[in-house]
Amino acid sequence: MPSPAFHAPDTVEGAIALLAADPLARPLGGGTDLIVQVRSGRVTPSSIVDLKRIGGLSGVRRDGEAFVIGAATPCTSLKDDAQFSAAWPGVVEAANLIGSVQVRNRATMAGNLCNASPAADSVPALVAAGATCVIAGPAGRREVPVEAVPVAPGRTSLAAGEFVIEIRLPAGRRSGSDAYLRSIPRTEMDIAVVGTAANLEFDGEGTCTSARIALGAVAPTVVLVEAAGAALIRTRLDDAALDAMAEAVRAACDPIDDKRGTISYRKAMAGVLARRAVRIAAERAGVKA
């Protein structure tokens, strides 16, 4: 099999042209999934389009009321942005649980999203955060919630020639925080058996006013559990509320048995970790749960 061609365009338009011209072309962000897949023969692209030379696609910036994370931004550099880290500690910690430091110095959240693994660590945190992404393609640009991108394991809703150019999260948070926890057998270097993200807002009294709970690795795609969030809203995260939240989380799980975990363990852990993630998010928000 021939080696794929390599392109490193310096504009979004250049990348779109390359991707649109070749249905077997694949965009390259950090490469930590793509290169492994190419080397093992699981995917056989005819060309690889490196996005990292495109101006404006690397780094975190503010755009009015939004943080904008370029698609080519490696996970570790999210930590370098103090404002972003303070606003979205759960997103930053989720992105910085992927693989090792070596991997995170390359891996990007956009790549994590578009790889469409149900176990992607950063995706539940992004979904809980209400993140959107901007997709560029031959038909122009569109902005969608991040959860609209993965549609099945390994498959996305991106059309031919389209790729994610940036991820956007609300800036200027008021009185909330977020957290992400995952279950893995070791302490590092594993794929999530279950991932849970919580993004909470509180009023001045410590009553929860908004709650988004998202789960990874318990269904073919990331799950936003609205009932779990609803169970927390208008509560002070008392035990009854947390129990109801965890119950809703477990009910929302539709996992599989595989080499990384069983259905029953995944369901159980989703409940346990969601509870813990909610407590951490509340603590970060200065609320005692």
């Binding site: 794929p4 390599f6 950090g30 930590t32 090792s100 430091v101 590092e188």
Partner: protein, 168 residues
């Protein structure tokens, strides 16, 4: 197949090479440039034996396509010592017997140096998590962690003016 011409800096030296577009940076380092200090233990980013520093950030060179190196700076284990003078991390690995077979050692040293370059006083836990992407099957990590902490201590001493150094 169409080879790609790449210009980059390897251990500070201007370097050019031709590579297959699908070749990894590790392939080029080992097979084209003869720098076999970076090892391939897995080819999938799971062992860290191929760790190099790319523009200041450590990466698995098996997860970098060689053409991506265009215009960039690559630092490998071969460039850690200054001439024949070992870096304190290398010296402490020797003094603490932090290697047995030595196959994972280049990756550990590159990663540990990269840690100490940015954090001169890491805790044991920070060292362990920083190095979690580097597998060692021989040592149980005990002597590796001690060597890195000892190297950090020595580097901190070096940065302290001689007159204020505590007496031994």
């Amino acid at each position: 197949m169409n080879k790609i011409h790449v210009n980059c800096a390897v251990n500070g030296d201007a370097t050019e090479f031709l590579c297959d577009p699908g070749a990894t940076l590790l392939d080029v380092l080992r097979d084209t440039l003869g720098l076999t200090g970076s090892k391939e233990g897995c080819g999938s980013g799971d062992c860290g034996a191929c760790t190099v520093v790319l523009d200041g950030e450590m990466v698995c060179s098996c997860l970098v396509l060689a053409p991506e190196a265009e215009g960039r700076s690559v630092a490998t284990i071969e460039g850690v010592a200054e001439g024949s003078v070992l870096h304190p991390v290398q010296q402490k690995f020797l003094e603490h017997a932090a290697l047995q077979c030595g196959f994972c050692t280049p990756g550990f040293i590159v990663a540990a140096k990269n840690l100490l370059d940015r954090n001169p006083d890491p805790t044991e836990t920070e060292v362990r998590y920083w190095l979690a992407g580097n597998l060692c099957r021989c040592t149980g990590y005990d002597k590796i962690v001690r060597a890195v902490l000892a190297a950090a201590a020595e580097l901190r001493q070096e940065r302290t003016p001689a007159c204020t150094r505590p007496r031994q």
